[in-house]
């Protein structure tokens, strides 16, 4: 399942993986803030050491480099239009945009690295120890747990529609896909009732547990 890459890579064993979660989060935050506040002129000579640091950590972590680089490309659809827009409408727009691109590329690299070497549940545990609101942690955990199941169900329905709809386009397809989502929500609602029953059977009374 294409989304489970996170679980897969974050369970590997490496010196980078073994850094305490809190430290990893703080380090990533530090890097991103640094990349945000550094003046443009500093970015040009700070970016190379930062890139080298990140790539080194990546290699030590044993997470496939190609995979990470591929995931950083998700930023392109946002960066390219900005480069174009600024080059036309902003003084020194191209230079400005290129610096911007470096900032975002290195930031997203840091974020991807953080996420690839840290288990989701460890992030939740750390946030919990930092007194992150309990209900948010609950919602995030449920979201993470059921997301894979729901995408599977959604994909099944979409595939079934694709096989039957032939060349339906535009509005008809929007209507059908929206109906899929409606059904998905109803299923989620009904599942929530059953999950609540399961929780009740195990003594849940609104406190603790989660």
């Amino acid at each position: 399942m294409r989304h489970s890459f996170w679980d897969h890579y974050s369970s590997l064993n490496s010196p980078v993986h073994n850094i305490p979660t809190g430290l990893k989060i703080i380090f990533a935050l530090f890097l991103v803030i640094l990349l945000t506040v550094l003046p443009g002129s500093y970015i040009s000579f700070a970016s190379l050491p930062i890139l080298i640091l990140l790539i080194t950590m990546l290699i030590i972590s044993k997470v496939p480099v190609a995979n990470v680089i591929k995931r950083t490309l998700v930023i392109l659809p946002l960066v390219l239009p900005v480069i174009v827009l600024n080059s036309i409408f902003m003084k020194a727009g191209l230079k400005h945009s290129l610096i911007l691109s470096v900032r975002s590329f290195l930031s997203i690299f840091s974020l991807i690295l953080l996420v690839s070497v840290t288990r989701f549940s460890d992030i939740m545990k750390t946030l919990s120890s930092w007194h992150f609101p309990r209900i948010m942690i609950m919602i995030l955990s449920f979201m993470y747990r059921y997301f894979f199941l729901l995408t599977g169900e959604m994909e099944k329905m979409v595939r079934a529609v694709k096989m039957r709809s032939g060349g339906s386009r535009g509005f008809t397809l929007i209507r059908i896909y929206s109906q899929i989502l409606a059904i998905l929500f109803i299923k989620s609602y009904e599942r929530a009732e059953r999950v609540y029953h399961a929780m009740l059977m195990r003594g849940y009374d609104g406190n603790g547990g989660l």
Binding site: S4, D7, R191, A198, M201, R202
Partner: protein, 239 residues
Amino acid sequence: MGSIEAKNISFTYPDGVEVFKNISFYINHHESVGIIGPNGAGKTTLLLALSGLVRSSGEILISKVIKSEKNINEIRKKISFVFQNPDDQLFMPHVEDDISFGLDKLGYSEKEIRSIVKESLRSAGLEGFELRSSHHLSLGQKKRVCLAAAFARSPEILLLDEPSNELDPAGRRELIRLIREFAGTKLVVSHDLDMIAEVCNTVLILNKNEIVASGSSEKILSDKKLMERNSLEVPYKYR
């Protein structure tokens, strides 16, 4: 300890559909009872009623104590209910969290809980699965985690809703083995009559709002006319 008694219980859906009406039965402790009947007969609903998850009229006694709203939490401590769909009861990030959920309410210490989790995973053949995430497990593994979670509570009564549903032959065999290992009272709802024949010594047929037959598995399951009258088939063991 682990007896179940239903006295004239009825349940109707909010939209007026009657599920069961005035049914009564007594299940002795350590009995292994199969609840069978055609689809839609209300077998699952019966389990929900016994657990207090739906409100039925009439009286239900669990281990000779009348179930009421006041003592429902105490009653549920004696029961483990394994749902039909494991995704409905594996809602925590890791397997160990699902198994340990609620164990603190039973009075165990953290250390005891850790060892209970380890032991229940081991008996379910899932050693080392503590940190696995349930959304990555196969159906058979998920069902075994649910069973492990059920056994971890050392219940007097085990309720199982269609446990062998959708399992492959190997998974099914494993499940049957695990269910038979449980020494307490068992109530199994299933249309897998071959499994019922292997696991249960008593059978109740639920059909058209009532219990139309009850007795030893051998007597009921081998009665061809009775089975066919209730849209059921005689399992292989008794053909």
